[in-house]
């Protein structure tokens, strides 16, 4: 009797041990969930956990792809058949998801996904579990026999069921987590892109000077992408030509100006008004662009600067020397940036139109006043000089009377062109009114200003123009005043230059007169 009891006790003890072992596996599944590992590594661990708990030699996990309606073997251990895919019919999926019966079956009695299970005939699979969470199919778990080809006992089938349920939850959680991670990463990337673009747009949106604007655009682009070479071009509708405005990196091969027909890439961009990429030997749909390689590089991207359908110019970016081309992200960002740039360029162009005289391309009187005021304030702050030269064409009224207004206009354009050529970047050539011009020269002293005036006077004197077969020679008179030597405020400075100019006119024209300083009060010829 006592011996019998001991045997029973022993059996019970064994049972308890077995249950303990299964429970341990369940907690290990929970542990697996907390591990930072790849999905495939986790799946494999889960499979090993299951096989080790049941004492089974081989098995595999199929996953169900709800977008493709396909099950495929994602991981396996010791299976002879290494892969298997199967498209599940909609009815089959419904039946599997809604079936509230058991989830664990002997493979030979399982009536679903037969086509794929038959592929594993050589593996002599024993059991299959349907992996699902809340009537949502996740996949299948198949296992072989125990050692010596012994099939699972019914009690072990119950273990399989419990473990499968937990594995379903683990896989489901992992899938949700990785979806979340992916979404998060995408979101992070988007936020970063938006912030880069925001900064770049901020930079360019308030700049009204075209040159400065396109310089900024170029450096903004180099920050948005890793591009090391590139250029920006503005389009001249009237001449169908492009002017180089700014560049990044080496620009030796780039001319200042190009007619559209000189480059297939430029023509292409103008005609399509859409971005395009070129890579040597890859984008053979543009065979003619080979000639452009010398200018733009072996791999390049051209994005048009367009504002409300109007083609304003383009941005050219050179690919890496390895010719790897541009990433999707680069292209996306540049395209968005080019839209912003289009508005900024248009804005700057309109502003330039508003402050310049259409005929002479010189700045207008109102803008002159505003800039002179600003420049004087700046000069006062930094204790620098500032020169103002007033210029008047000699005998302009006679010219107009003798040859007509059209000739008069040609003379104005002629003198304006000489003025534009004579000035430095920061100087300001102005059409003051009628036949009168002005020139603001920041950081210039008396000697320098008089020299500039004299040089321009000579240029005008030595040049000539031809209007309808008539050769014309013109001269001009000059008056020079200096801030703060001659005057402390703007009106007095203009007045001083004007008085000096009047002195030139009165004393034979075609000459330069410097206004008296506050100390000398004498006219210096």
């Amino acid at each position: 009797m006592s011996e019998q009891l001991t045997a029973l006790e022993q059996k019970m003890q064994q049972q308890v041990l077995r249950y303990e072992y299964v429970l341990e596996a369940l907690s290990d599944i929970g542990d697996e969930l907390c591990r930072v590992a790849s999905f495939d590594a986790q799946l494999k661990s889960l499979l090993h956990l299951l096989l080790g708990t049941l004492g089974v030699r081989k098995g595999g996990i199929f996953l169900f792809d709800k977008f493709k309606n396909q099950v495929s073997l994602r991981c396996s251990w010791k299976l002879v058949q290494k892969s298997g895919e199967y498209e599940v019919g909609t009815e089959e999926i419904q039946a599997l998801e809604l079936n509230s019966d058991d989830i664990t079956y002997r493979v030979k009695e399982f009536k679903f996904i037969r086509a794929v299970l038959d592929l594993f005939e050589e593996d002599n699979l024993d059991c299959i579990s349907v992996l699902k969470v809340r009537e949502k199919l996740i996949g299948f778990l198949v296992i072989g026999h125990k050692l010596k080809d012994v099939p699972l006992l019914d009690k072990e089938m119950a273990f399989l069921k419990t473990l499968s349920r937990n594995i379903s939850v683990a896989i489901n959680n992992f899938l949700l987590l990785s979806e979340l991670r992916e979404a998060n990463a995408r979101l992070d990337e988007k936020i970063q892109e938006v912030s880069i673009l925001y900064q770049a747009s901020q930079m360019i949106s308030s700049e009204l000077q075209l040159q400065a604007l396109l310089d900024m655009a170029m450096s903004a682009i180099s920050e948005i992408t890793d591009v090391e070479r590139g250029s920006t071009w503005l389009f001249d509708e009237e001449h169908k030509s492009f002017s180089l405005m700014s560049h990044l990196g080496n620009a030796i091969d780039l001319p200042d100006r190009m007619n559209m027909e000189e480059s297939k890439a430029l023509t292409f961009s103008y005609e399509r008004k859409d971005y395009f990429a070129y890579r040597q030997g890859v984008d053979e749909q543009f065979p003619l662009l080979r000639a452009d390689e010398k200018l733009f590089g072996k791999s390049f991207l051209i994005v048009p600067i367009v504002h409300q359908g109007e083609f304003l110019g383009l941005v050219h970016l050179c690919g890496s020397p390895e010719g790897a081309g541009f990433t999707e992200r680069d292209v996306r960002l540049i395209k968005v940036f080019a839209v912003q740039l289009g508005a900024a360029v248009k804005n700057a162009q309109l502003y330039e139109q508003a402050i310049t005289d259409g005929m002479t391309k010189l700045y207008l009187h109102r803008y002159f006043k505003q800039r002179l005021y600003d420049e004087m304030k700046r000069a006062a702050r930094f204790k620098r000089n500032l020169a103002l030269i007033m210029i008047d064409i000699d005998h302009f009224k006679c010219l107009n009377d003798n040859y007509g207004h059209q000739t008069g206009d040609e003379v104005l354009k002629h003198v304006a062109a000489i003025l534009r050529r004579a000035v430095r970047t920061h100087d300001l050539p102005v059409r003051y009114g009628g036949e009168e011009f002005a020139l603001v020269l920041p950081e210039t002293e008396f000697g320098g200003a008089v020299a500039v005036a004299e040089r321009i006077r000579k240029s005008i004197e030595n040049d000539y123009l031809e209007v309808s077969g008539v050769v014309l020679k013109v001269t001009a008179s000059f008056g020079v005043s200096i801030f703060p030597d001659c005057a402390d405020d703007m009106d007095s400075l203009i007045k001083a230059a004007d008085v000096a100019l009047y002195w030139s006119k009165e004393h034979g024209r075609n000459q330069v007169t410097a206004a008296p300083t506050k100390f000398s009060r004498e006219v210096d010829v």
Partner: protein, 116 residues
Amino acid sequence: MSEEFSLTHQVDGSVLIIRTNGYLNDLGAEQVDEICSDNLEKGINKIVINLEQSPLINSIGISILIGVIEAIEESEGALAFTNLTPTNRKTFEMMGLLQFAEPFDTEQEAVNKFKG
């Protein structure tokens, strides 16, 4: 147990000795299976696995050892486990592993048995 699983192995005459180190819950434990397969192919089919440094073996470890047993059975070799902790011994017994592999107290005893 955060430490990584590792192992060393040596071939002593016709016997392969594997000494594991660490928790056999890691996929690193698949190495045991690889080394056994490699040696079985070379005709070395007597294997001693010393588990002294792996005091805890969970079901992941068991599944790997089952694979090893299966392979040795197929090639008609012999397997021995040595230095099993009482817990491991109980688990191995319950999972029926000891029907296919004899447990020894020390590595030397197992090697001697296989050589003799």
